[in-house]
Symmetry: D3
Subunit: 273 residues, 6 copies
């Protein structure tokens, strides 16, 4: 689904057979002014998407952005102004906020973890643990927050997990089969111990992923093979401990919680006279 379709269908989800409150109020046309106001501290993501929600519902609404994606906000900051028919603003408001709050929540959380990495060269990656149908915009929010995107799906990078390897009869066999057909994609292998790591390095894959390994084991792995292969670690990383993991020298740390367990940024819409 492209963004236009996501927005259109989200509005349809809320409007269904019509907004009965404004239909039955049957007000005289007038012009109102409404403001999106931050009620918490964070990073804005999705301001353009929120604007597009308003414009999709009513192309005559005027939306002025005071903050653009990536900008920090604190409680009380005005993020955007919406001007036009009150009924249109009221009909689009919830959908616009649902996008803006979620994406800003993701960008804010990402940004806190990126700041925790300050001083290291390690990059924070997202995962495929995203909300169904919204992966594309959630991965965008991660970039807005200063994170980096891991693969977008099963189609743009090769990742050999334990079960692939077992089915192929081992890492060397699996990588050999892949290299026979692949001309386009990087290859990453999931590793659970040092023997597997040695085998993966010998196969000349692009990256290994150390899943839930101890700091000590990670340090040893990086020390031994850092010239030959890239390292990614995953599992159990949070704002508090991420720097210790980064200091092992791994290039990448990936975190599913960025997208699957994120608190929305508190934002509300107020009408002003």
């Amino acid at each position: 689904m492209n963004l236009e379709e996501i927005i259109r269908k989200s509005l349809e989800e809320d409007l269904g057979s019509g907004d009965i409150t404004t239909r039955y109020l049957d007000l005289e046309p007038s012009t109102a002014m409404a403001y999106m106001i931050a009620k918490d501290t964070g990073i804005i993501a999705g301001a353009d998407i929120a604007r597009q929600v308003f414009k999709t519902l009513d192309p005559e609404l005027k939306v002025t952005l005071y903050r653009k994606d990536g900008d920090p906000v604190k409680p009380g900051d005005e993020i955007m102004r919406i001007e036009g028919r009150p009924a249109s603003i009221l009909q689009a408001q919830r959908t616009a906020l649902n996008f803006l709050q979620r994406l800003s929540g993701i960008a804010s959380k990402t940004n806190r973890m990126v700041k925790a990495l300050a001083g290291s060269k390690t990059k924070l990656l997202d995962t495929r643990k995203t909300t169904p149908l919204l992966r594309s915009i959630e991965k965008y929010a991660v970039r807005v927050g200063g994170g980096y995107n891991h693969r977008h799906g099963l189609y743009d990078m090769i990742m050999l997990k334990e079960n692939h390897i077992r089915a192929a009869g081992g890492i060397s066999q699996a990588v050999a089969r892949i290299k026979e057909h692949n001309t386009t994609y990087k290859i990453e292998v999931e590793i659970t111990n040092h023997a597997e790591l040695a085998e993966a390095v010998a196969c000349k894959v692009d990256r290994v992923m150390l899943d839930n390994m101890s700091l000590k084991d990670i340090r040893l792995a990086v020390k031994t093979y850092k010239k030959q292969i890239e390292f990614e670690i995953s599992g159990g990383v949070n704002e508090e401990n991420i720097l210790s993991y980064a200091k092992t020298g791994v290039q990448y740390i990936s975190s599913g919680a960025l997208t699957h367990s994120c608190k929305s940024l508190d934002i509300s819409l107020l009408f002003k006279e």
Copy 2:
């Protein structure tokens, strides 16, 4: 979007132009057995949806549910078994988990708040602060967790907010216009003080919503009008304070956090021999 479409498009989002890992591994067909295992404590929601994800990707996968929606789980509990082609399981796994973890997260959080209400007659309601495109299944997860659904959208209940009221020239005028046309829907009015409450009661609407009022004010409101109108409160409610709010005697407490800021339930998929 109906559920079938949501599932199909979520799979397409992950598969894109094809799973290149299994395409290039080109394994002999075989049969694998995989299990969804809870890694945290909570309530399952979305087990049937997860099953449908697997069956949509490959109708020949066999899925056996060990837990049904509404069942509690603790770490280590097996939720379902999936049997069939390993490539199919690997291709559907992330999408199935993304649904199951999110919905179980919502049901679990709802359930904790419902338990906190033990002994009161107050009902916990959801809101429209849901994930775009997933409202229908998220509201389902709230019901699974023991909560109740507020209106599904702008189309199935009339809700007069501050701005509607101002535009109509007051509560009485707004309600009068609505009653002139409405034959089908309940009417709820958002209230910010006692004068408005008195006016709403006089208009004979079905429910008032007290937004961010103090416990003291809520108690007074309920005491004064409990025979004439239903009360809903909203804002700043959490597992710790919800019982105090319930004890005011309000019929309904609504919480946006149930759906917009919910931690996924930790669940993983393991292959076994």
Copy 3:
């Protein structure tokens, strides 16, 4: 389906692989002027939709409305003018008329019945006996004609029919189950005799529907319970007898014929020089 999609697909239905008449005529571009003319007496509904049909086919067509929805027309009245490429007008004309004639037919019939109710407080309701895919615009035409909308579908009001009641073991049991879960919707119960009516009243539902009852029975029902419950009647009502039904004091009379057996209003499109 939203209106835009309904219009687009209706045009595609008529155009298929292309209008071969104008394709092969291959005329020089020119500008024509065409008028929609009423050929019968009635109420216009769908003028904006007809305009949107023309604009969807060719955004450069200019459409000027002389009558808006709700206006009465008599034979010879000009409803709208369309100006632009003759081929575009000819390609959109049939689809535009098919919408305008049907909707105006519904508004006109509704309006005749509403006029027949003159002097009573009874409201005329539509039903779900609408044309598949066009319910939303047909219910709109009923409103244009002065009628009121009953529920839009199975999702916005609770209606207990005979079979629901039997399956639940009786009216009281059915209503009790509903009230246990429902926080949002009005409840209506279909009633066939006085015992059921008494039971429904005792359960404190919002409305009863008396299906095909005699005038005498209706009068008795209203007289007995009018302070406690709303009444709707349905079945066998027409322009001639509707006032007698209204005089029983029921609040609502619903009529499926408004939408399922309605004569289109006769309207034609003429080119003028």
Copy 4:
């Protein structure tokens, strides 16, 4: 839109965010038996479509047809039996009836006019004055009733109307242009007087359409040119006068009212024990 899509979207139109009555009744699963019963006299059309509606909603419903499309019914006749979950039957019933009643109404009206033609060789044609989005099944219902289909849209026959002719500079010029490009389609020309008729015949088109001509003029036209061209008449034809028109010797009479102003056939669904 194909039939499957029409049915699916019609069900979605009625179900929206879910059937709240059966959701909240939360009945034990059981099996019910329901019958579609004719309450008027006519010809059935759409029985298979109605069956498909039930099966689309719930593939486990069993539908047994007692009447097939084209069969006559009288009040009290059983048309089909539906067996399965009561909730499923109640959810699909209105949509199934909306199709069956409308299509049977069209077939019945068509059939009455076809019977009125008894003894003549004239064929009754439909038009493009059909319900938007339902043309394909409405034209099917016309065939079921014994009528014939005129062109399905702008794409499968060439029809030169007054405005085409004027824009091309006359009948001869218009037909010449068409014949220069057309290799596939029959050509029909709309005629309003004898001079035009003579010109059309001279151009060797396939058919002329006499719009709102008097019986006398039609007779003269047919008499003069019946060996050289086919005749279609349109406008003002009904069950009473159709035979007089047919006796002029025209091959075709077309009627828009078959589809745009048709009374639904009265059919209801009853549950039986």
Copy 5:
């Protein structure tokens, strides 16, 4: 699928989850000028479609056509200029070229065969052997090249092939059944020998199709029945032999190779300063 949908989905096919090259280059906005240049000799078809591809991706791109559909080009000729954001041009370029090159290839091949027919009255027809989903625009390209369209699908002309005839028990029986129901479409019969031809002529169908007959047999067929029926031949026709076939006097020669085995016209896009 209408053209707008074909274009939108073709762009989505190429863009998928986003153009990572320009995303990561993150260039300053600037304006570039690019030209479509012919690199071979042929006839342009699809220039408007290519323009629509660019405008769909980025409505702010300016596209100026130097050649319109039907114009001849030789190597080095500028076909159109595109002006605007370089990233937009680069993202739409491949899709625009894929349409323009294929359609121009079809128009060019058609035109060569039409030129080979010079001096004869025979018309060159296309077939249904087109690219799935692109039939409508491929048939358009045939017209641009000077060819004529045979039926667009199974829905706009009646064609009796060998198997239809066998199933009906012979040509006369098949045609009789068809004529009983058909009021709208021309009838063509596939013929393999002179006995069948005689039978088809006797049934008064509109056209016969001689499939893979020898020149000698075709000549005899045309000579015998040219006053009574139209002739189409098909099979084994190419630029070299088409004139010999035309000289038999057949009205139509159809060629599947126009669309199913066509070399794209070589066109490239160059940026200029």
Copy 6:
């Protein structure tokens, strides 16, 4: 678009408002047997897709494959048998053949070029010069023929072309920007001379593409840098000269003609008794 949707819409393209030939023939149901027969030499691709076309139109058709994708055929070979209702076979036949012939044409051409590479280690790649909407299945056909897939779209590999490089201010600058953001994709740079090649090698990109370079220049390039970078060449390659290009030692040769200018494999469907 997924394969199921491509097939469904291709059938709709051909069927439109219905197959009028079989509708009006109105044959008694019977069972026929039809065979797909190769009429030329090549490699089959799309047999499963053709089967799916038949099954989509009529799930009761039985399709038995005698050749699977990748199998060679010669004139007269039976590819598959279809058994069932004759009307169903006739309605699906053209669409099934349009897929099978095109894909087999691509696989056959690919295979001839792959055979011409015999003895070298060079891999033959496809391009994005594919038929709009059919890229996925055309790239599949290339794999069936023994070729390899280059990137599927703009989303799965980074490719810096001349204009990207100019806009970024040079190869080094462009690659630096990309490497700052990219964590997932291989990087290829288009090169036109030796200075650029040296710069690209210095930047450590994954592959260079030499566009339309002379054999001599290619040889020198490979000789100089073969240990440091992968080489792809493109432009002007055909069955005759491909081996000379391969002998330069490049790893990849890409060819757009595989998909944009491919002759369909001649296959026909015959009914047998």
